[in-house]
Every structure is written in structure tokens, then in C-alpha cells.
């Protein structure tokens, strides 16, 4: 009797699972954006949602849950069912925040399923009004003579971690100074109050194109195809700073691999739409073309890099 009951339950469960897989999405899909309305991540998520509605034939709802360096929205996502109906679009902040926040209510390795790398670009080091050199080799020289102030978007932000990484890798005598967001950091560059800022192409290129700040380096072994005139850190002989910035899709931990594949494929289709291509072009970024497994490796590797760096340089102590 008992075995029969168990067998029935098992059968029902597997049927439900199979049903869920066939029928994704089974209703409106919620995409949590852990930043405010109108921010750059939100502006990526909203047009994507419109494309996905076409693909899925189901409403795709964007819910903004800002706060705690994206961890409020991320936490909420981890508490949802792993059925693909609740997803998260986040930046590399999802890998930096665990390195400094001690009170996380989830395990970033098991409670998060990395699904798809949507957008990626290298980090760019930009210089402000007081920086005289025009490329990275010159900057390294200049920075050895005059100790630089490296502006960040806030303690624990990726701009902070990248700055620490550059200080470490190039052995610079620089000081880090924290601003509230990339906009304020770059204003202080323009006014000559701080010297450098590191962020993704999307957040620095508008000011670079205005001539207000200058792009000194892309932090990568080789030049970036969309910014062929900017020297790479590798060319200047600095290695170990080639981490890329990205915007990516995540789900709750324990998602079925087949479902992850399907969602990843649907997002790739949405990313290939004209609207998204146009946005990529504007932001000097490229669409990610990694499998979920490959992306998971990057996610885990980056998280470890930041954790080690935080311990080494006393970040968040």
C-alpha cells in the first residue's frame, strides 16, 4: 500500500515536472531587475521583455526591486520556485556583492542558476581632466610619478574591485576614492577632483564621446573590436586584469538543465532582435554567446576572484 502510494506520488510529480517543461512558460513571467526604474539594467530588461512577449505569447512583467547593491532583488529571486517563471537580470554586481556583504540570505553558488550571458563588454579605464597621458602605457608612467586618485561608483562596486585589481596588477601607488554611482565619479573626473574611473563601455562611452573624459585602456589582453583605437592593458604589459563586465540572466537554484537551455535559447533569440542590436551598438557592447555551463564557470570564477581580492586588500573590513 505504502509503496503504491509512493509510486503514485512519484508518477504525479514526474508528470508535473514533464508538463512544466513542455509548457514553459505556463503563465506570466516575472523578471526581477534589482535596480531602479530607468537605470541602465532596467533599460536593457524592458525592451527584452517586449521581445520575449512576442516569443512566448505570455506577459513578461518587469519588477524593480532595488537596494543593497542589487542583493534585495537577487535575494527575492532565489526564494522563488525554480520553474523559470521568476528570473533575474543582474550585472557583475551579483559576483562582487557576495565578496563584501556578510549578511546574505542565500548561497550564491547553490541558490542561483546562471542561465545566460546577455551582454558583455570589457572594462574601460578612463582618465579625467588632470590626467595628461592619452594611453595606458603613458598613464602607468604618469601614475608612478604622481599618485593617482581612482574614483569608484562606491565601495564594493565592480568599478572599485577593478580599480583595486589594476592597482595590484600594475603595482600603482594610487588611492581609491568612493563616489555615489558612476555619474558622480565621472563628474569628479571632469572637474579634476579625481583621476580615473573604471566601468563598462555602456557607462563611460557617452562621456568619452563628449570629450569630457578620455579612454586610456580597455582592460583585456587585446584591443576590443568596437574600440580599435583604445590601447589594451595587455599591450601595455599589464596582465591579470582581463575580467569583462556583463549583464546576465539568472534563475533560482536547482533549475532543470533542459529548462535552462530553453530559456537561454529564447533569450538569445530576443537578443538578436533589431531593438536589442541597436542598443548593443549604442552601448559599445556585444551579445554573449556562451552556453549556460560556460557562463556558470565565469560566474563562479569571477566570484572567487573578488572574494580573494577582498580578503587580500581588506575590502569591506
Amino acid at each position: 500500500m505504502k509503496t503504491l502510494l509512493l509510486a503514485t506520488i512519484a508518477a504525479t510529480l514526474s508528470a508535473t515536472v514533464a508538463f512544466a517543461q513542455d509548457k514553459f512558460p505556463s503563465g506570466p513571467v516575472t523578471i526581477i531587475v534589482p535596480y531602479g526604474t530607468g537605470g541602465s539594467t532596467d533599460l536593457t530588461a524592458r525592451p527584452l521583455a517586449i521581445e520575449l512577449e512576442k516569443i512566448w505569447g505570455q506577459p513578461v512583467v518587469i519588477v524593480n526591486k532595488p537596494g543593497a547593491g542589487s542583493m534585495i532583488g537577487t535575494t527575492e529571486m532565489t526564494q522563488a520556485e525554480p520553474d523559470g517563471q521568476t528570473l533575474l537580470i543582474n550585472t557583475a554586481a551579483i559576483t562582487t556583492a557576495p565578496a563584501i556583504q556578510k549578511d546574505l540570505q542565500f548561497d550564491p553558488e547553490t541558490d542561483v542558476t546562471p542561465i545566460s550571458l546577455l551582454i558583455t563588454s570589457p572594462y574601460v579605464l578612463v582618465g579625467g581632466a588632470k590626467v595628461e597621458s592619452d594611453d595606458f602605457s603613458g598613464f602607468l608612467e604618469e601614475a608612478k610619478g604622481r599618485s593617482m586618485f581612482m574614483g569608484t561608483a562606491g565601495p564594493g562596486s565592480s568599478s572599485h574591485f577593478m580599480s583595486e585589481l589594476v592597482i595590484e596588477a600594475a603595482d600603482l601607488p594610487a588611492d581609491v576614492v568612493h563616489f555615489s554611482g558612476g555619474g558622480e565619479a565621472q563628474t569628479n573626473l571632469m572637474g579634476g577632483h579625481a583621476d580615473t574611473y573604471i566601468s563598462t563601455t555602456a557607462s563611460v562611452m557617452p562621456y568619452v564621446n563628449d570629450g569630457r573624459v578620455k579612454a586610456l585602456a580597455v582592460l583585456a589582453p587585446e584591443r576590443f573590436e568596437l574600440l580599435p583605437d583604445v590601447q589594451s592593458s595587455g599591450e601595455a604589459g599589464v596582465s591579470g586584469v582581463d575580467i569583462n563586465g556583463w549583464v546576465a540572466l539568472f534563475g533560482p537554484g536547482g533549475m532543470d538543465p533542459a529548462l535552462v537551455e530553453q530559456i537561454s535559447a529564447d533569450f538569445a533569440e530576443a537578443m538578436a532582435s533589431d531593438t536589442m542590436k541597436e542598443q548593443l551598438k549604442q552601448n559599445y557592447a556585444v551579445a554573449g554567446d556562451l552556453s549556460p555551463e560556460e557562463f556558470k564557470e565565469i560566474y563562479l570564477r569571477d566570484m572567487k576572484t573578488w572574494k580573494d581580492l577582498a580578503a587580500k586588500r581588506g575590502i569591506g573590513q
Binding site: 530607468g38 535575494t75 555619474g183
Partner: protein, 509 residues
Amino acid sequence: MELLSNLALGLQTAITPSNLLYCFAGVFLGTFVGVIPGVGPLAAISMLFPITFYLDPTAALIMLAGIYYGTTYGGSTASILLNIPGATSAAVTCLDGYPMAQQGRAGVALFMTTIASFVGGSFGIIVLSLFSPLIAEYALTFGPAEYFALMVLGLVAASTIANASPSKGLSMVVFGMLIATVGTDSQSGIGRFTFGSMSLLEGFGISAMAMGLFGVGEILSSVGATRNAKIDSDSAKLRNMLPTREDWGRSWMPGVRGSSIGAFFGALPGTGPSIAAFMAYAVEKRISKTPERFGQGALEGVVAPETANNAADQTAFIPTLTLGIPGSATMALMLGALMIHGIQPGPTLIVQQPSLFWGLVMSFWIGNLLLLILNLPLIGIWVRLLLIPYHYLYPAILIFLCIGAYSVRANPADVLVILGFGVLGYAMRLANLPAAPLLLGFVLGPLVEMQFRRAMVLARGDLTSLLERPIAGSVLVLSAIMLIWTIAGSIIRHRRQFSDAVNPTEVGG
């Protein structure tokens, strides 16, 4: 003459029927959102933001901006009538607006705030259209040291806005600064006083705090108390709404000063309408020959902050549009509305998108004019609102406060925040501790700390370098002089009060 042709181009853009309609929709909604306590411009604009995907960028911005400055027009209504600010920047208006209403001069107060809003708004627009690039350039020279000096000046200048004893007023400024330390420390990333709570990492929202302290606090102390007979319907008559010649005379200079102060603080990223309103009020009270009238229904105390916050609303667009630097969360939304259409604000925006920039500027004029026309007849209706028995009104206000708090981040914990601050506000009323300085400390405190710590990093720990910078140095010296003046003044007043026998003064706000 380039300006004239630009303005003509702007006018052409702004008066197309569809843009006029979006402008009207924006300012109408803004007034409405402003009047309702609890729901601020940030919440309203966030809610409507998704619509802008489907609009042309000029129309989108015209509408969102209309909501933004429209809110400031409406924000003072509840301050005056109910002692509950409809928007955070109208908190100061409670101090003298509500006493005016209690004296049966609600109509006059509302009339003058509408005029003041229009004057301040117009001043801001003039500054915006004439000096945008210049001001943006100048704002860049303000680094952490300059901001620090300015915030210190603000603290010193405004620490005596309430009519309480100096120790009570100052203690509340310090208390506000202390409350503001809750949350992630801007310079180390460490959570302070968060006790492991993730919601607290963000700190307390300014609007949740203001709504709790002023809104819920006011309801808690009014409900169950014996109420004075409410204003009779006579005060809603046109005759009693119109300011007297004396009123106009009193308001003229405060309006000019308020506009200038507002335009200045609006253009600086990171400060804004609330700080501007506080400063304008503080300045009026300081230079007034009769500072004791403030808090008792002084018209200057209503006009100055209302011109200031409206002027600041307009000049806040300067750094947003010409540098691409949003000075506040609301401005970040405006920026977002442009970015989704692939328009990058910056120094080249005026040249590359002249019809957008000038169209927006002209729509501000039209919007302010619409608000003037819209708001004057509404005064009669708002004043009649007071005829509704309070026992029907307060549950409704409470609901709006709850929804307003919840809607900003869709977080029920924020509703608990307004409850907590409401209870605090009630306790402070019982203890005769003024709430306005607490709000001021809360706004300025984090800026003082953050900018000082940045400035120290940039000066490599050299304190004297602050004084060597021309702007920062002179502002700090000015603050020191003002501080000495305040202390000396309060000692003299204290002596006078003692000789006048015991004379308990009522505390406003």
C-alpha cells in the same frame, strides 16, 4: 538673437497639440500626486515610466517633467491645510502655512504659494535657458571639499529654523544626522546599525521618513484630540483668498531671494528642492526684523521655500541635460527616458537636439502657466476640503501615506518605517521637540560626512587644504562667522527672555 530663434524653435515644438496634451497631462497628474500626502513625484514617475517607451522622447520628457514640477505646486496644499507635506520639499511650508490656515488664511496661503511657485519656476526656467552650459561648467569645479563646505554652511544656517530653544533645535539636527547613519556607509561599504537586516542596508528613505514624522505624527496627535472649530466656509470665498496689499509687499523680496537660492541649489547635483526650501526659509528668518513671527503664520515663511523649491525643480535639469549627470533619483528617471530613445544627454545635447532642449524649456513655461491657471481655481475646492469632518479625512490620509510608502520600492517594510517615524514624531510633539531640524539633519548629515571623508582622501589627510581652496575656504569661514553670530544672538535673546519672565512659546512643525 540666437536665443530668440532657439526659443521660437522651442515654442514650435512645445505647442504641437500632442505635446501640449502631454504637458497638460503631466502637470495635472503632478498637481494631483502632489496634493495627496504620501505619494511623491518619484513614485508617480516610476509608475508612468514604462509608457515612455511608446512616446517620442520630447513628449515623454515633457510629460515626466510636468509631473515632477507639478508635484511641487501641489505639494504645499496639504502642508498648509493639514500640516502634512504632500511632498518632501514642502515640509518646510508646514511651519508657517499651517498656522496661517488655522488663522483662517488658508486661501491666502494657497494663493500665494501658487504665485510663488510660478515666480520660482519662471526664474528657474530663465536661468536654465540663459546660463545652462555656463552653470554646468561651474558646477564641475565643485569637488568634495566645496560640497562639504556648502553643507556645513547649510547646517549652520538652518539649525535655528524651528522656534524651539537652541538646545532642542540643535539636538534634533544631531538626532537627524544620527538616524541618517543607518544603512551602508558610503565610504567603507559596511552596514551601520543594520542588525543583519537587508532592508536597512539602504537606510531610511527621505520620503518615508518625512511622511512618518510629519504625516503619521500629525494624525496621531490630532486624532482623539479636541479640535478647534474648523475654518468656516467663508474663507473659501474669493474675497478672503486674495492677498492684501500688505501681503504682496511682504512677499516680494522673499520671492526674489527664494528663487535665487532655489536656482543655485537645484543646479548642484546631489542637493535639490528640499535643501533649497530649508535654506530659503532659514535665510528669511535670519534677515527678518521680526523673526518671532516665523512659525506663527508668517507669509514670508511660505513664499520663500515655495519659490525656492520650484526654482530648484527647473534648474535641476541643468546638470541632467547638459552634463548627463542626474542630481537625484527623479532626475535619473528623466535621463533614463532619454536613454531608451538613444539620446545621450551631455554638453552636445543642446547643439545636437535643439528642438528637444528648447522644446522642453518652452514646455516648462507652458506647464507653469497651465499650473497657475489650474491651481488658482482649485484653491476654493481645497479649502472646502477642510469642511469634511476630520474623522472621515484621517483614515483616507493614512491610506495614502501607507500606499505612498509602499509604492516607492514595493517593500512592505517601508510601511513599517512610516509607522516607526510616526510614533517618533508623536513622541517629539509631546516632548515639544521640533521635527523640521531633524529632517534637515537627516538630509544634510550624510552629505557632510561623505564629502568630508572624500575630501580627506583627496587631500591625503591634510585638513588645512580645505581652507586653501578658494570656494571651500571662504564658505567655511562664512559658516564660522555665522555660527558665532548665532551663538552670540541666542545668548542675548536668552538673557532678554529671562528678564521677560517665563513665557512658553509654541513650537511649530
